[in-house]
């Protein structure tokens, strides 16, 4: 089982608690339906697909370095289209925004 990435649940809890303080922990409701990716105006253009759904999966699975290296967080324009279409009210736009502050605080500033 060579390239299996280990899932780190504590990362998921850490990020979730952080986002909860920012009032943006709706993303846990996401059941991976993919509407946000299609609703996002820039995902297809930039060819970085799937968009916010992928980030939420990274958080849920606690894949830290994938999160840190993902450029989606920085490219997101926070237009809110994805939250508009999300059938679960998981509010992916808020999540991306809150996640940007989390990444900046915990990783970029430290580097």
């Amino acid at each position: 089982m060579s390239k299996h990435i280990e899932v780190r649940p504590e990362i998921y809890t850490k990020i979730r608690d952080f986002m909860k303080k920012l009032g943006a922990d709706d993303f846990i409701k996401c059941f991976n339906c993919g509407t946000c990716t299609v609703a996002c105006p820039i995902a297809e253009v930039l060819g970085i697909v799937p968009f916010s759904r992928k980030i939420i999966r990274y958080i849920m699975l606690g894949l830290e370095e994938d999160l840190v290296n993902s450029k989606e967080i920085l490219l997101c324009l926070h237009c809110g289209e994805c939250s508009e279409y999300c059938p679960k009210g998981a509010n992916p736009a808020e999540t991306m925004h809150a996640l940007k502050t989390y990444i900046i605080q915990n990783y970029l500033l430290k580097r």
């Binding site: 299996h4 649940p9 998921y12 991976n32 799937p50 999966r57 849920m60």
Partner: protein
């Protein structure tokens, strides 16, 4: 053959486009009208509809028909419908033959010419048979206003309770020592959230107090004879060594030297050979496990009220009932050793064992711990035994998804900071149970869909679960402290039940209903009904409803009824021809044929109430004296000759 006064009506059904789409129904009707003896041949879009049936009834009255042929779907669907229509028009319903030109013709052929040719042949064969049919009168049979319910799970109890409340005599039996069935091992019954045994307790309490209810535990049916309205059932009751004097003091249990895994607790703990299955079990007495008990007799001495007698033998009970309800439930799938790591470590358990761990009365007293430690990361794998695993029924077990989400909420209420992952094929929380799925999500449960079943590797006290998370194109591994295999439902020794009650099974191995939508609570055998998970995976509440539905069918058959009318398609002896060679007597498994004397001539005679109508004796009868009503030699030979194109 009564050719001169034969007046036959032939009716071809379009069945919308199901038949007319492939078979040229006008051509078949035209051909039928060309056959001598046919006075009218029609075709219509839905013969089974009210208009279609009226067409037949009007023709019978106006054209004085004495024979009807309907070419439509399978007799399994609407033979009864058309027979009733013929009967209502005043014609004997047994002067009717149904031709299957849908399932056996239009649905299975594509070539329009050949399918029409076949339909014409089948219609010709049916017309030839109808010409030889004779009017028959239904057999009036005494009916016994009592019902045997096999299985005392939720479905059995629900059916028994409804029947008993309506005043029928009810015998309810179970192969296990106590009533309640599988559900007694569950800790939370959605949506109420009470224990399984607490759910069935009021049902059992009410049942056992009723004078018209008899309960038999450790009992299995070994043979069934007779037919609807009058079944003779032989039941073997394995010895219950402990009498009703038992006061549940438990001294015997302390004295017993034998320890075996306790399957009620999912084999997580041990129990003695003499034990009490669970709290408030009925009958309220200890039970001896025959396979484990070495008959050392220590318990006899320990028992203060001398309630134990190890010399009790098994006994046989013969019952006479009017109807039988099969509610034998299901068996949870038992994974093999090594299947997803099961049996290799105490950290891989089945959903059954999870139920016991969550039960305050369970082995861990409700604290959700494994080997003394609270499992931090828990991975659920669903569809084990249903869609994935070594042996699968290749059918969804319907309840696992709702139960998984319900159990995660219970775990989180005990250990709020556990991390729970659910690996699933499809989350099938159908209907209002979708809210369970949403609640689980909102409590931080992570759902991962797999296409290839996950792999499980035991590494010390960590269980590594490898799965491909295709939605982000990554292979992930979850280092779990506990893996729970959500096992599906498999048929509970359906093979045995099917053999004894002469039933059959569907592709998934469960017992086959008469028709999934027309008659879902009945089996093809008249008088034998079906309820609960025996027919296929079902939830507790769905079993309650299925039990009540089966009861409703039994009520319709027996409530306030003194006799019922049984199909006259039984064997009959032509005493003028019978030479008394008695070959037929040896043929009948139902002992329906006996000997009688006409003057000093010994002849065979058939008891129409016992005869099940298989016709084996008629085929064996060397002189042709034994005839099978509705399938007489001349009737079948007419079909064979018509098959070869002989228009008669």
């Amino acid at each position: 053959m009564r050719d001169k006064d034969v007046r036959i009506g032939v009716y071809i059904c379009h069945c919308g486009t199901n038949i007319a789409g492939i078979v040229d129904v006008e051509e078949v009707a035209r051909y039928a009208s060309s056959i001598p003896g046919v006075v009218v041949a029609r075709h219509y879009t839905f013969m089974c509809s009210e208009t279609g049936q009226n067409m037949i009834k009007d023709d019978i009255k106006n054209l004085k028909l004495n024979g009807v042929v309907v070419a439509a779907c399978s007799p399994a669907l609407h033979e009864v419908t058309f027979k009733n229509a013929v009967k209502e028009a005043g014609l004997n319903p047994y002067l009717f033959e149904m031709v299957n030109i849908r399932e056996h013709c239009s649905w299975t052929h594509t070539d329009r010419r050949l399918a029409t040719e076949k339909a014409k042949d089948l219609v010709r064969m049916a017309i030839a048979k109808v010409k030889e049919l004779e009017p028959l009168e239904e057999v009036k049979a005494e009916v016994v206003n009592s019902v045997l319910v096999v299985g005392s799970g939720v479905a059995g109890l629900s059916a028994a309770l409804t029947l008993a409340r309506a005043g029928l005599t009810v015998y309810i039996i179970d192969k296990r020592p106590v009533l309640g069935g599988f559900v007694t091992r569950l800790v939370n019954i959605a949506p109420i959230g009470i224990r399984g045994r607490e759910f069935v307790k009021p049902m059992i309490d009410e049942l056992v107090e009723m004078p018209n209810v008899k309960v038999l535990t450790n009992a299995e049916v070994i043979s069934v004879e007779g037919g609807v309205g009058n079944f003779k059932v032989r039941i073997r009751q394995r010895p219950t060594y402990i009498s009703d004097l038992c006061t549940l003091c438990g001294y015997c249990e302390k004295a017993c030297p034998i320890e075996v895994p306790n399957e009620y607790e999912g084999k997580l703990t041990m129990r003695k050979a003499i034990y009490l299955p669970f709290k408030e079990a009925y009958p309220p007495k200890y039970v001896i496990d025959e396979n484990a008990c070495t008959k050392c007799g220590k318990c006899i001495d320990a028992c203060p009220v001398k309630a134990i007698d190890l010399s009790v033998k098994e006994r046989y009970i013969d019952l006479n009932v009017g109807a039988i309800i099969i509610a034998v439930g299901h068996e949870p799938y038992e994974p093999d050793k090594g299947e997803f790591g099961y049996g290799l470590t105490r950290r891989v358990i089945t959903s059954l064992q999870l139920e016991r761990l969550l039960d305050e009365e369970g082995p861990t007293g409700g604290r959700f711990i494994i080997d003394g430690k609270v499992p931090k990361t828990i991975v659920f794998i669903s569809c084990v035994g249903s869609l994935i695993g070594n042996k699968t029924t290749n059918a969804c077990s319907r309840r696992c998804c709702s139960t998984i989400t319900y159990d995660t909420l219970k775990i989180l209420s005990k250990n709020p900071d556990s991390h729970i992952y659910i690996l699933y094929r499809d989350i099938r929380t159908y209907g209002f149970e979708e809210e369970l799925y949403w609640k689980a999500l909102e409590n931080g449960v992570v759902f991962v869909k797999f296409e290839e079943p996950p792999k499980v590797e035991v590494m010390g006290d960590k269980i590594m679960v490898y799965v491909r998370e295709a939605t982000i194109n990554k292979n992930i591994v979850i280092p779990a402290d506990l893996v729970v295999l959500f096992v599906g439902m498999t048929p509970s020794n359906a093979g045995e039940i099917v053999r004894i009650f002469k039933l059959s099974r569907t592709a998934d191995g469960f017992i086959r209903e008469a028709h999934l939508k027309l008659r879902p609570a009945e089996t093809p055998t008249e008088g034998i009904f079906l309820a609960g998970a025996a027919a296929g995976p079902k939830g507790v509440m769905e079993s309650v409803i299925h039990g009540a539905a089966a009861a409703s069918k039994a009520l319709a058959l027996l409530l306030n009824k003194k006799y019922i009318l049984r199909e006259p398609l039984v064997a009959k002896v032509d005493e003028e021809l019978c030479s008394g060679c008695l070959i037929c007597v040896g043929m009948c498994p139902f002992n329906a044929i006996s000997v009688k004397y006409v003057g000093e001539r010994r002849v065979a005679t058939v008891n129409p109430l016992l005869c099940m109508g298989c016709g084996t004796c008629a085929a064996a009868c060397p002189s042709g004296a034994m005839e099978h009503n509705g399938f007489k030699d001349k009737q079948i030979l007419a079909q064979v000759r018509a098959f070869a194109g002989v228009v008669v």
